[in-house]
């Protein structure tokens, strides 16, 4: 099993959700994040003074999947999130040792979906 964590542009969340659904990946968790990457931040002005906004708003998605779903999930995220502009984000994949469904106590492959 793998845990896929992706940072995407907030305005792309709906599109990513849609493409995940199309790929029959129905489970995910979302958190708010601030990100700092290649997109170096932009400058704003408030009351004449400069704001260096280099922590940009991002959305963080976590999806735990069985190994055969890793590639489809990555493809779906890319499909929904890519605009080709800097700031599109990153996908990170880590090994998932165990997964438990709290309601039933099921473990592993059965629990994940």
């Amino acid at each position: 099993m793998k845990l896929i964590t992706a940072f995407i542009q907030p305005e792309k969340l709906n599109a990513v959700k849609q493409s995940l659904f199309d790929a029959e990946i129905f489970k995910l968790s979302v958190t708010n994040a601030l990100g700092c990457g290649q997109q170096k931040g932009y400058h704003e002005s408030y009351r004449g003074a400069d704001i260096e906004v280099n922590l940009l708003k991002k959305v963080r998605i976590e999806i735990a999947v069985n190994d055969e779903f890793v590639q489809p999930t990555i493809d779906a995220i890319i499909k929904g999130a890519r605009s080709g502009k800097i700031g599109d984000g990153k996908i990170f994949v880590t090994e998932l040792t165990e997964c438990i469904r709290i309601r039933t106590g099921e473990k592993g492959k059965e629990a994940i979906g």
Binding site: P10, E11, L13, N14, N32, E44, Y46, K57, V59
Partner: protein, 453 residues
């Protein structure tokens, strides 16, 4: 357990009507008396004592303050009912409108709306404000108010029309195009339309009755709102695959503050429209106004409870405004029972209207068209039904005349702006929010907000 609940609303709805019917007759009389008192107050031109002049003017100044605070009410309601990412933009528009409204009203609006003797359709008494060389404060309006109070009270009304538009076109209109539209609409269209009735024009000659502006102010704003929404189109994500998706407002306490301030302001809007402090006239108007507002709340609250299954706060608050808009045309000439009925019906109308506009994909984030246009029309017609000495067909004529004039002008303005400067922000800006896009600022810096809705 659920069954009694289905009855409850109906029972509650019936309750306030009971007990009023038996006394309705007596109140009809009271309304007549009050109407007479208002009439007298307005028409009386006999010389008055300086004391009377002073108290009249004091009342009109207080009313001016109350109408002023309605702008804060609008700003609060509109920003609260939209998303956090567009808040700065809405607040900015509402602040700018007050300034633009007052300044253009001083520049030309006042003298367009009250041109003195004129052909009944269009007149202009010149730029700037100036009471003239032979100005005598006490004689200016029969001792009811000074020239300056007259200007300021009317000036505070002026900006309202544009503010109504602001809410309907929120979350997608370009700032500069909106400001240009507002300046022109408030400086020219509103006062010309106003002159037909309040300036002593052709409609007033016909016997049209619009006490404080269900039509002259609210529907004038409402028609422009409708035109704006039609030219702009709905917000992204509102109508997806043929289904309507809710885009919830971000700050309900702010909406509530706004609605209470608007009710408060309406005391001056209607109370001040008596145009003197006449005790019987003003206080009667305040009672009809308040009861209509209360009835509007009750009706919309119960209607939404029945229709949407859960009582919707934003609907209850819209219902309050609906009742207020509804009573505005006839607050001085309808009976107590009629005022309650007008409010109740307005409260019911507004709920169905909001839902209906969504059905036909007219996306009005704050319900401005339902509240100000639909209930403005309702109130004007209702005055034709229940108002002492009012005529339904004349009321209808007025409604239609204003509709044609305002809708065409507003549509033309928006359309011209669309093909020249553009009126809609780019899609990306709309998704990220106009606060960042137009102002480079956030309304709630530091707060964690999901802006992807």
């Amino acid at each position: 357990m659920m069954k009694w609940k289905a009855w409850l609303p109906a029972i509650l709805l019936a309750l306030p009507l009971m007990g009023f019917v038996p006394t309705a007759l007596g109140q009809e009389e009271a309304a007549d008396d009050a109407a007479a008192a208002v009439e007298e107050a307005v028409e009386e031109a006999a010389p008055v004592s300086v004391e009377m002049f002073t108290v009249n003017n004091t009342w009109m100044m207080v009313s001016t303050f109350l109408v002023f605070i309605m702008h804060l009410g609008f700003a609060s309601v509109e920003s609260g009912l939209t998303r956090a990412k567009n808040t700065v933009n809405i607040l900015f528009k509402n602040t700018a409108i007050v300034a633009i409204g007052l300044l253009t009203y001083a520049l030309c609006g006042f003298n367009l709306m009250y041109p003195g003797d004129f052909n009944g359709w269009f007149g202009f008494a010149g730029f700037g404000i100036n009471p003239g060389a032979d100005y005598s404060p006490i004689a200016y309006a029969g001792g009811n108010y000074s020239y300056w109070t007259d200007f300021l009270f009317q000036g505070m009304f002026a900006a309202t029309a544009a503010t109504i538009v602001s809410g309907a076109v929120a979350e997608r209109i370009k700032l500069h195009s909106f400001l240009i539209f507002s300046a022109l609409y408030v400086a020219v269209a509103y006062p010309i339309a106003g002159s037909w009735q309040w300036g002593g024009g052709w409609l007033s000659a016909k016997g049209f009755h619009d006490f404080a502006g269900s039509t002259l102010v609210h529907s004038v704003g409402g028609w422009a709102a409708l035109a704006g929404v039609l030219v702009l189109g709905p917000r992204l994500g509102k109508y997806v695959n043929g289904s309507v998706r809710a885009i919830p407002g971000h700050n309900m306490p702010l909406v509530t503050i706004g609605v209470f301030l608007l009710w408060l302001g309406w005391f001056g809007f209607n109370g001040g429209s008596v145009l003197s402090a006449d005790a019987e006239g003003t206080s009667y108007v305040l009672v009809t106004t308040s009861l209509a507002a209360a009835a509007g709340i009750l009706a919309s609250m119960l209607t939404s409870w029945i229709v949407q299954k859960k009582p919707d706060l934003s609907m209850a608050l819209n219902g309050c405004l609906a009742g207020l808009v509804g009573i505005t045309a006839g607050a001085d000439v309808v009976s107590i029972s009629a005022s309650i009925i007008i409010g109740l019906i307005a409260g019911i109308i507004v709920v169905f209207s909001v839902i209906a506009f969504d059905k036909i994909k007219i996306d009005d984030p704050v319900g401005a068209i339902s509240v100000h246009l639909v209930c403005g029309v309702w109130g004007t017609l209702a005055t034709g039904i229940w108002g002492t000495d009012c005529n339904f067909m004349v009321q209808l004529t007025g409604v239609i005349a204003y509709g044609i004039f305002c809708f065409i002008i507003a549509f033309a303005l928006f359309f011209l702006l669309k093909i020249t400067l553009g009126i809609r922000v780019p899609e990306e800006e709309e998704l990220r929010g106009l606060d960042i896009g137009e102002h480079g600022m956030e309304a709630y810096s530091g707060f964690q907000i999901f802006s992807n809705q």
